[in-house]
Symmetry: C2
Subunit: 212 residues, 2 copies
DNA sequence: CCTGTTACGTAACGGTGTTACGTAACAGAT
DNA sequence: ATCTGTTACGTAACACCGTTACGTAACAGG
């Protein structure tokens, strides 16, 4: 009989119910400002119900971040098939920025938290085993490997990992500062397109061997 | 009689006592993990004593960050006198990275917090009026203005502010990712010198007009 | 019908930031 | 010398937080 499957389905549905409410609140107010009682009230349960499905508040939060990382992976690995590594790098970079700026609170959750301490218990949610975010990183690294192998980089740049990490740094810095500064009038922060344009120029002219 | 001055001096001393204890604890454990009762106990007072000198926990924290910003300003404006804007930019960049990596928790407090909401009440601590961090930013902007005026940048780069913001983004991204990733074995993060070297190459080759 | 498990509500615990209130110290005025 | 207003600060409380001990009702499997 399919009753155990139904139970499993209901359990999963309730878990999703909690996560949806939690996501909405976390995105709207940030981690610290959200209360388990708020989440519970929104779904008309007691806080105890949350503890049935999650170990604690941080665990619940982590599951949400985990999902965001999967979407993030999807958004970047989508361009992994582009043959020309230069164009691929540019596409990945722009996809990265677009993801971060269209889902800013998700990006904050993922990359702008004070150090997340231990997080080795992430195997259960994804059966695949590969942890989230890794695929996006591998796509970037692979692109830099191609750039090196095809001799597209300036003579001094021979370590694909160092190049990948420098590029990632630049793009990550762009979005984090953009999110924090774009509405501070005293800084006269330039538009997303302007700063991104300069940064992309900087990255490409900076690491690519001149072709002329 | 100098008694009112003595009172002022004592008041300032007690304020400093609180801030020293708080700084130590915040740097050691981070904002959320520190308790007003812990701070109070360390200096053998009750929590009420803290409220005599600071509006609330966040205000106390903010004063500390404010001081860090002054040191930050000092560290960067020190190189403002260098004549050659290219060398000046490099020195500023390296000073930025050194500050961030030698005082990582301070840097976290300053630039890696989830949005700090309203912070318009900062006039009292500094009599000067100019808010902290502004001097460092102005130094960077002025350097980019010089680069543009001296025709040292690539043809497309004509907006000094956009260039300054892109450069800041790159360096900020470097230190934040470095702080978060350098001890994650799976990423195979490269050493500070390696990634910084690639990034500095990227910045200089990326924005400077080729001299050959 | 029994029995073990599971989901979940009630009520509590210890700890948090914050504050109402009382008090003791004390500078300045009378 | 006494009064008075202000200031610093301790005590004890408040409301709220994450978390948990405990009870219970539902219910699948035997």
């Amino acid at each position: 009989m399919g009753t155990s499957e139904r139970i499993e389905r209901e359990r999963h549905a309730k878990r999703a119910l909690i996560m949806d409410a939690a996501r909405e609140l976390f995105l709207e107010r940030g981690y610290d400002a959200v209360t388990l009682r708020q989440i519970a009230e929104r779904i008309e349960h007691s806080t105890t119900a949350i503890y049935v499905h999650f170990a604690d508040k941080f665990d619940l939060f982590q599951q949400l971040v985990h999902d965001d990382f999967r979407r993030f992976d999807d958004a970047l690995t989508r361009h992994a098939g582009i043959a020309d590594p230069v164009e691929r790098l540019q596409r990945i970079g722009r996809a990265y920025v677009e993801f971060a700026l269209t889902m800013p609170r998700s990006y904050e959750m993922m990359f702008m938290r004070p150090q997340l301490k231990a997080e080795f218990e992430k195997v259960p949610p994804t059966s695949g085993g590969a942890e989230p975010g890794k695929a996006a990183y591998q796509t970037l690294v692979a692109t830099c490997v191609d750039l090196v192998h095809q001799g597209r980089l300036r003579p001094g740049l021979i370590d694909p990992l160092a190049v990948a990490q420098a590029v990632w740094s630049a793009v990550h810095g762009l979005v984090t500062l953009q999110l924090r500064c774009e509405h501070e009038p005293e800084l006269q922060w330039r538009s997303r397109e302007e700063v991104l344009g300069v940064l992309m120029t900087m990255i490409c002219e900076g690491i690519l061997r001149p072709t002329a």
